[in-house]
Amino acid sequence: MLQDKPRGFNKTTRVRKKEINPWFMILPAFLLLLFLNIFPLIWSLGISFYKFSIIIKEVPRYVGGLNYINILTSPETWDRFFRTGIYVVYSIVLQFGLSLLVVLLLFDAFRGRRVIITLFMIPFMIAPVASALIFRYLLDENLGPVNFILNSLIGYKPLWFSTDMSPLGIPYALLTVILVETWIWTPFITFLLFAGMSAIPQDLVEQSRVDGLKFRYKFRYVILPYIKPMIAIALIFRFMDSLKTFDSVYILTAGGPGSTTELISVYIYRVAFERWDLGSATAISYLVLVIVIFMTNVFMRYIVRVSGGERS
């Protein structure tokens, strides 16, 4: 690895004038980041201390920490965080469960394995907006094919976009959002786990088969060590991205009915661009940002340990 030894061009080999200062090469990218990422983030901290009026041209009023006090004391915010928590837990469990099943089925090397995994990636790569829209058709309560099939099989039509309780203990609308999100993201996890599994040496697989290893031992001692780093990576990405979920929810339910599916991103969107309370919205975003930064740090430390151990 290049990074291990400071082997870059040093002063003795540097040929004057022909070589560009590395900082000039980084500068354009840095400026773009400064303009559209670093500055907006710092500026939005300022925004969060102001109260905006509905008319965007009007000068905002400085209110100090009032926005933060309002958020932290309002049950509405905590309710949205709670919903997001439920959503994250349910979707991660579902996604990992389903991916593990698929990956274990793909464990034996057979021809066409790659094609299957590639086809499996389609739902993940296409736009969430398109996926969510097609699910609105599929899950349409009266005319959609899913309810048509369910009705002829078990004679019951669940109201997929309602506040009715589903058998999983959450309202149907929330379940629908979770299911669609699971449909979109399971391939991502499956792919990572599959990549980890492909790294298992073939003779180890053969050996375990010749020895007639029981499945649980095979899983514990042959498969798990190889997919562990991938599970860590997938977990980080999924956790972060679950907090960001917006597209599919906005298309499926737009946060409704009521606030049943108002996950934190949708909530911020509504506060900002429907109530035009930009100050409070940025304040909530900052809260989310702090959580994300904290979690990233925790996870990153873990992943460096896990993947570092794997390489050496």
Binding site: T13, L33, L36, A130, I134, F246
Partner: protein
């Protein structure tokens, strides 16, 4: 003889198991892809058939594509192409320069900057869009192609930098040093020596960045105007119409997702790098 029998039996058992697994996985895959299949079916269905014969078409028609055309879907797709091409090219050029410097030079604060770039990927876009929205509103960039292109260049920069850097890292530094001693300039080395070597990698990075921009919704929703709205925003606006034709929606969706489905097969080789930002290589 007995040993051979046992051997045959286990082999048979193993084969049966294998085929069972294969059947099961194929079945899961087929069920899993029904929604995508349904988009294609709906797109070619006539309006009268929309809520009957769910999964088959008896009389395929192109009416839906015609209707999509009449409703301005193709303008939205052209917008998508403009925005994607613009955003991806800017991000690639900036990323190529930056990642070369990151890969080859011990720049001060490199790790910090690289980590910051990666962490922008983790930030919820909703936290970023509010200040950018106000900023663009004040600068007159809201609703313009330029604003969207800049925003997307920023959005795809982390992926491009990390991925291209991973490709440059794979090339031994001795090549650069030799070229430098031969008296070539950095620009020559980067564009004439390194670039051709990592061209497939750059194409893959471009494809991943393009898919990100092509599919993006939140920024597009808030930063575009009626004239500059890309396909994702058009699709979401149909949702609000009363009694719209699902066939038209599906027709737009098919045009929207088809390029990506084609790309996936080409990207197979680079998928792992793309999904993990080049941090995991094969």
């Amino acid at each position: 003889m007995k040993g051979v029998n046992i051997y045959r039996k286990t082999l048979l058992k193993y084969r049966v198991k294998k085929y069972l697994k294969f059947t099961l996985i194929t079945l899961i895959l087929v069920v899993y892809l029904i929604p995508v299949y349904e988009m294609f079916v709906l797109a070619f269905k006539s309006r009268t058939e929309m809520y009957s014969n769910y999964f088959i078409i008896t009389q395929p028609t192109l009416d839906n594509f015609k209707e999509a055309y009449e409703h301005g879907a193709y303008g939205a797709i052209i917008n998508s192409i403009i925005i994607t091409a613009g955003g991806v090219s800017i991000s690639l050029i900036l990323a190529l320069l930056a990642s070369y410097a990151f890969s080859r030079y011990p720049v001060k604060g490199k790790n910090l900057l690289m980590f910051y770039i990666l962490s922008t990927r983790m930030m919820p876009p909703i936290a970023l869009i509010i200040p950018i929205y106000i900023m663009f509103f004040n600068l007159g960039l809201k609703g313009t192609y330029g604003g969207l292109i800049l925003a997307y260049a920023m959005m795809t920069l982390p992926l491009s930098v990390w991925m291209i850097k991973s490709f440059i890292d794979d090339i031994p530094i001795d090549i650069d040093q030799a070229a430098l001693l031969d008296g070539h300039s950095t620009t020559y080395i980067l564009f004439k020596i390194i670039f051709p070597m990592i061209a497939p990698g750059i194409a893959a990075s471009a494809a991943f960045a393009a898919i990100t921009v092509w599919n993006e919704f939140l920024f597009a929703l808030l930063l575009s105007s009626i004239e500059t709205k890309p396909t994702s925003v058009l699709l979401s606006s149909i949702r609000g119409e009363r009694g719209f034709n699902w066939g038209r929606v599906a027709a737009i969706e098919v045009i929207y997702i088809l390029p990506i489905i084609v790309l996936i097969f080409w990207l197979q080789k680079y998928m792992l790098r793309g999904l993990t930002f080049g941090t995991v290589r094969k």
